[in-house]
Symmetry: C2
Subunit: 409 residues, 2 copies
Amino acid sequence: MVKRIMERFESLLPYSEAVSIFDAVPWHLPGRERVNIEDAAGKISACSVFSPMDIPDKNKAAMDGYAVKHINTSNASDHNPARLELSGVNMAGGGAGYPLKDGQCREIYTGSIMPEGADAVIKVENCEQSGDYIYIYSPVLAGENVASIGEDISRGSLILGEKSIIRPQNISSMTAAGIKSATVYRNITIGIVNTGRELVTGQINNSTGSLLRSFYRRAFMDIIDGGMADDSVDSIIEKISNIRKKCDIIIVTGGSSLGRKDLTTDAISRLGKMLFSGVSIRPGRTIALFNVDNMPVLSVSGLPVAALMSSLIFVNRYVQNAFGLEITEKAPAILEERIHNKTGFTTFQVMNAFVKGGELYARPLETTASGRISSLLMGNSFTLIGENLEGMEKGSRIIINVIGDIKWE
Amino acid sequence: MVKRIMERFESLLPYSEAVSIFDAVPWHLPGRERVNIEDAAGKISACSVFSPMDIPDKNKAAMDGYAVKHINTSNASDHNPARLELSGVNMAGGGAGYPLKDGQCREIYTGSIMPEGADAVIKVENCEQSGDYIYIYSPVLAGENVASIGEDISRGSLILGEKSIIRPQNISSMTAAGIKSATVYRNITIGIVNTGRELVTGQINNSTGSLLRSFYRRAFMDIIDGGMADDSVDSIIEKISNIRKKCDIIIVTGGSSLGRKDLTTDAISRLGKMLFSGVSIRPGRTIALFNVDNMPVLSVSGLPVAALMSSLIFVNRYVQNAFGLEITEKAPAILEERIHNKTGFTTFQVMNAFVKGGELYARPLETTASGRISSLLMGNSFTLIGENLEGMEKGSRIIINVIGDIKWE
């Protein structure tokens, strides 16, 4: 039995081919929903949004002072101040008041609507009051200290791009424009089924399930814990079937062991079609991809780091292809020490990144054990080493994916 | 009236002094609570956690193959293979089985417990089976392909640091060690009260409240919307009083206008002591800090960007002093264009950061309007320019705080 199963792994699919096969499937995507604007933070927008109004929608004072006709101040100087009659006050939140007449000014506050006829605001510190008159010692330009209509956001301008992460600034802009809800993609729902008698019996704790659930639980992702399946085809089918209608992607862990690989493969093959099994990546080469009604089902290792890294390739592809976004935060870094690679494998190397002298460096962790969760405790990032590289030289510029705290030295 | 109020702002407190005053107060911190381990993601740990057990807790196979006594293979070669009697199988999830006798081997799978007496695993691809015997063609070293007790995490080693953000890898390690809950700091609760008749009457939409709420709603922070207060001392006091017992920090917006500044200052002064008013920062110089029963209450501008940037200084200080953490993600970048600064002011400059040729660059946005939310839509980061700098030269290494998507060119 052992020898027969082995054959399946003798030829591993190159990483790039596995990705091409994944990319070629028209995977089902999450639908759209309308949510309250403040619940939209971190979600993926489903539509572009253009401002339906000018912001500000009226000319407003941008300083505390006096609204004037700028022409009335054009000859003002220390020796020959302009003398303007004070004609009331426009408070913030109030109306425009009477139109301003020639020779008049109006006390005004930041955010107050400008009176009709006024085209500039003189800062309070450049004036003096004497009775009902304000003395102004220097000229002001037309439009000075005025926030004019549409100056911040003009009607029709883009305030939220389609397929982008909704940020606080988008929410604030939409609120300013009177928009109270947003159309977003429903969260991408990741179902996780862990298989293995050692989990069911409690012989080991389900640290792999725990890692995947806490990693994939993000602003635009939901997790469904599909529970633990025993070492039987029926049990695995049952656990997947229980959650499949609610999921966009399912990850089945515990296909790492050759003896068990048969079980998960048999089980998932009854639900859909296997697209590949065995990819030249380290860790996680035992990964298999199935198409179940155009939903990707990934069978991955039972070891935590291998399960995470190998599933992440394809979950990230799903998000990239559909939305042009990436799950983990990328950063450019300088390689601080040579990395060796086993050619023929695309390798996830755990790194420890740090900032020194204003530059981001990354040092590889010496770890070969793909299952070791301790490597992720010691590192804070990872990088991908291409299968054709024997290594990467010290000083190379690399891309890291940040998954922990970066120290500043 | 206008002139009298102005005097308060004639001397602005330097940024560094404002920070020193803030840092000197023994602010009340959130308490601790125990949460389910998987609900702890992104929260701040309140205790160091050390593993109560070795992981793995037993010697286990790290490959699929045959468990052996390494000594039985020491002379194995292609011409003279070791011939070992197959003595059953140890499945993953099963027990150790009978102890292994000299001259025997045991079929074993990744994660299976090693039989007593075995000290190495031969990979399945390096063996051949014939009847009840396994032929082995090369020697194996003691410990080879075995995950030995404590190899990943040894008993007593640190798996979660105190006052650190709890990451998926911490959760997974704790789960592996049988830990089901974590002691965390309660979320820092930020109360936000927006003042201004223009909000109450709906003359303008509350984009400032919206920005602050969506920005400060984070993994380890909660928001309480204290509602909108009218332009009266009583209304402001009422809104603050309604939420003060539930908050760790309160931000009151709308003290930007000189006319209104009096109202918020009067209101908050009845609840606590003003520590400063007016700081040499741009935007947001009107900020005032009050100590209300050792809870910081910040009175800030009603303009969104000024309100965010000026409050962020002190909310970030609170988090830094208490937990050694920062709210926004920092990154080192190269300044792509000269920035000019008005000396005497610590300036928040909105930047557009991008990656080019493996390096992170940041270009300043040309914007002087502190209230413009559009600047945050166009940029994706900000940097702080010190008050003594007339600017920063092109090519300087700067620190940016990332608040949007960074483009890779």
